[in-house]
Amino acid sequence: MFVSIVSYGLAVGAVYALIGITYNVMFSASRVFSFTAGMLGMLGGVLGALFINKMGMNAFVAFLLVLAAGAVLGIVTEILTVRPVLKSIEQHLYVLSTLAFALMIQQVTAIEYNTEPQPFPVLFPIDPNSWLGIVDQKIWLPVLACIVTIVGLELLYRKTLIGRAFLAIAEDSYAARALGLPETRLRMASYAIAGVIGALAGFTGAQMLLAFIGNQAILNFYGFVPVALGGMGSNRGAVIGGIALGLFQQAANFLVGGIFASVAVFAVFIVVLLLRPEGLAGAAAARRV
């Protein structure tokens, strides 16, 4: 039982962490939180099920297509819902524009696909009784995805110039612009990367979470909790927060049942935020006057 809690906790926590990273990558590039993180996660699962189950595609090809779809959606998000409102004085409009877009995509999916949770195919034909099958793939897939993403982002940020350009824009977009860095193109690229990460989270987590449009709302919230707790823009905080959230949720589920587990998570979320609005690792808000 304990093993089950820990393994499920790690797996679902890894998905939450990846969605948190999705939020962070978009935030670092634009200083904007987007409601599309959950949408990307949801589509990772739904599109995967659609391609493999309904359209009979090879799992690997489907995987690549799903990631590509994530990238495209990320770019569309930037062009359609973020760029136009960045210029406006009313910054809160981005909350509404990204929400509207995420809702539109969700509704289209609901109508064209299915409103009920659909099964997601087993990706690797591994015999559960063999030694390879000791850990269920629905557990290690998201964890592996999380590790790959973190390592990949580190390599990107530390070893490539474009990665360092992302870091520059995240730190001081004005100075980056003055230096001649192509701010808009870099922002679009960031959103594309965020799209890929979100889709990856959904695809690898779908054996657990199934292909379900309701995942959008679930991932929107539970993917945001790590960001809120870990500090905006901090991927490290998102990972720690995500894993902690996953473990806490599974433990609470086991101890007090599903509903109270949700209430417990929500209560912790609110209490932490009220005590430290900038999160446990974040920096305090800047001067307003």
């Binding site: 939180f33 359609l80 819902t81 136009p84 409102v85 406006s88 004085i89 009313e90 910054q91 809160h92 409009l93 909350v95 509404l96 524009s97 929400l99 509207a100 877009f101 809702l103 539109m104 509704q107 289209v108 109508i111 709302a217 929107n220 919230f221 945001f224 809120a228 049942g257 599903g258 509903i259 949700s262 209430v263 929500f266 979320f269 609110i270 935020l273 009220l274 609005p277 307003r288 006057v289």
Partner: protein, 601 residues
């Protein structure tokens, strides 16, 4: 009263009158349709109308939260859920075995909504926009899940029957009129708040928070009142909803519903009552008449929201506001009339001086202010100058309560001025303007100036809500005072114009008018001459001088050396957070070190 040279006076009088009437006509028309609908004796229309009334009762309250206060509470359907289940469970006797009378159950539903409205709303005081939106979403999900799980009270997934109201509001047309009356009441109440100083204060918090603070508006108290009211209305709407549906289950309260309320308000336009009402009605009624599109309704609403946000953020209300599209005269002049000041400022108070002693403030390793003594005396204009980074604006921010210094004292005569409490300054009659004008762009110039006098009102929130006499007295006094202040600074002809249509220099004078509403004993001006033409600077100087002659102590932070030397009685020069020199303008002008500091050595 209107000046012959005012740019839009000839068009203003009839338009204002017509504008009010035009608003009333819409309500009268809606009211007539509502009253007479039963004559059609079509129960299908009746049900749609009842649903529209119920949604509007909730949205009227939410409108104050979202439209006026600008809080993105997207999970507000939770109030509907709470109210519905509270009313239904109590009326059905599922709590404590006693069957409550439907009216009492309804009131209890409203009370539940009010309490939770405050609970859900409290985080808004501390959290950023997106974070707050997420917490409301989380809350809405929790409520639905609790409804699913708490089978004893809510019936769980199976659901529970809603209450049946007795005569004269029995199901059918009786209940129809009940909903109609309550919707009318909700409209009246929220419209009263919207057009009161509370409504203006909300909008000020939304669009110009620092200016709201400087005018004495306390955000927490006001937001709590609004969440209380909005939650209560939502709860009552929920109770009515449970009766209309006759039977409620948790999946009746979807996230899409929350979005619907939200979109209705935004389509309607923020800061308006009529707009969101029309928006909500349209969104409720539309799916009924476009049957094949029902499946796509949420998609279309979301698409509509996106279009509104990108193209017409002001919503229907903006589209209807044709009088604010009339062109203004091109080359307007600002002609202050300092002779009106004595009426505006009233009697001189007893306050004599603000004294800062040994103030020091560090930000990280930077010493923004490094041991500063400063005295602002009544009836004097005290100039504060210095190179960039010398600490001028920081000093002003310390005086107006935004920063807490690390050491030092600040006194108003013998009383300590509290640090970190910007909204307390209004009560000390300390007013200020800002380096970049802070204004409510969507409100009129007059409303912007009236915001400055918010703390001068005496009526309570409840009195405004119910349109009682003291509220009307307040409004008249505030309006008269604001018009006088505008006349003093030379902007009365632009009183009805949307503030974001004004030129930059006019906005600077408008900020001064807003400051005058406090009848300030001390007026702190942060670079008021920036962006003004030489002639405007001259007039500004004359106005400031006249204000000080009425007894107000003025602190003038400025770059424009000529303005400083022209009108100041005393000047303090800051450099690197310390006083470099202090004295009369003549002394400062010939002070070698000052000149060097300015020019760099």
């Amino acid at each position: 009263m209107t000046d012959a040279t005012s740019p839009i006076s000839t068009a203003r009088a009839p338009a204002g009158w017509l504008g009010r009437l035009e608003g009333s006509w819409s309500w009268i028309a809606l009211g007539l349709v509502g009253l007479l609908l039963p004559l059609l004796d079509d129960s299908y229309f009746g049900v749609i109308a009842q649903r529209a009334y119920i949604y509007w009762i909730l949205s009227a309250g939410l409108n104050l939260v979202v439209g006026y206060a600008g809080q993105i509470a997207i999970g507000w359907v939770a109030m509907l859920t709470l109210g519905a289940y509270t009313t239904a469970a109590l009326a059905a006797g599922r709590v404590g075995g006693v069957e409550w009378h439907p009216y009492l159950a309804l009131i209890a539903g409203g009370a539940m909504g009010a309490v939770f409205g405050v609970i859900v709303g409290l985080p808004a005081l501390r959290l950023r926009t997106f974070y707050f939106a997420m917490t409301t979403l989380g809350f809405a999900t929790i409520v639905t899940q609790v409804a699913l799980a708490w089978k004893d009270v809510t019936g769980g997934g199976v659901g529970t029957p809603g209450p049946v109201f007795p005569w004269p509001f029995e199901p059918g047309w009786g209940f129809y009129y009940f909903c109609f009356i309550l919707a009318a009441l909700a409209t009246w109440i929220t419209a009263n708040i919207g057009s009161s100083r509370y409504g203006r204060a909300l909008v000020a918090i939304r669009d110009a928070e620092v200016a709201a603070e400087a005018s004495g508006i306390a955000k927490p108290k006001l937001l709590i009142l609004i969440f209380l009211l909005a939650g209560g209305l939502g709860g009552i709407a929920g109770g009515l909803f449970s009766s209309l549906q006759s039977y409620i289950t948790p999946d009746a309260f979807t996230f899409e519903m929350s979005v619907l309320f939200f979109i209705g308000i935004l389509i309607g336009g923020r800061g308006s009552i009529l707009g969101p009402a029309l928006g909500t009605i349209i969104l409720t009624v539309l799916p009924e008449f476009a049957a094949p599109l029902v499946q796509w309704s949420t998609f279309l609403y979301a698409a509509l929201l996106l279009v509104i946000v990108l193209v017409i953020p002001g919503g229907i209300a903006d589209l209807l506001d044709y009088k604010n599209r009339r062109p203004l005269t091109q080359h307007r002049e600002i002609l202050p009339r300092p002779e009106l000041l004595s009426r505006v400022l009233g009697t001189k108070g007893e306050a004599n001086a603000i004294r800062l002693a040994n103030i020091a403030l560090h930000f990280g390793g930077v010493r923004a202010i490094d041991g500063l003594d400063l005295e602002i005396r009544s009836g004097e204009v005290h100039g504060l100058i210095g190179p960039n980074g010398s600490g001028k604006t920081t000093t002003l921010n310390v005086i107006s309560g935004y920063y807490r210094p690390n050491t030092g004292t600040m006194k108003l005569d013998s009383a300590d001025l509290p640090f970190d409490k910007p909204h307390a300054r209004a009560h000390y009659r300390i007013a200020r303007t800002f380096q970049t004008p802070r204004l409510v762009g969507a409100a009129s110039v007059l409303e912007n100036v009236m915001i400055g006098g918010t703390v001068r009102g005496h009526g309570t929130f409840a009195e405004s809500m119910l349109s009682l006499p003291r509220h009307h007295r307040d409004e008249k006094q505030l309006k008269d005072a604001a018009m006088q202040a505008l006349a003093t600074v030379g902007l009365e002809s632009l009183a009805a114009v949307r503030a974001d249509r004004l030129q930059h220099s006019e906005l600077r004078f408008m900020e001064i008018a807003r400051g005058l509403m406090l009848r300030p004993a001390f007026l702190l001006l942060d670079e008021p001459a920036a962006g003004l033409s030489p002639e405007e600077i001259r007039r500004l100087g004359a106005l400031i001088k006249a204000i000080s002659r009425e007894g107000t102590g003025v602190l003038l932070v400025e770059h424009h050396a000529d303005l400083i030397f022209d009108i100041c009685d005393r000047v303090t020069v800051l450099n690197l957070g310390k006083t470099l020199a202090a004295g009369t303008p003549a002394e400062i002008r010939s002070h070698r070190e000052v000149v060097s500091a300015y020019l760099g050595a």
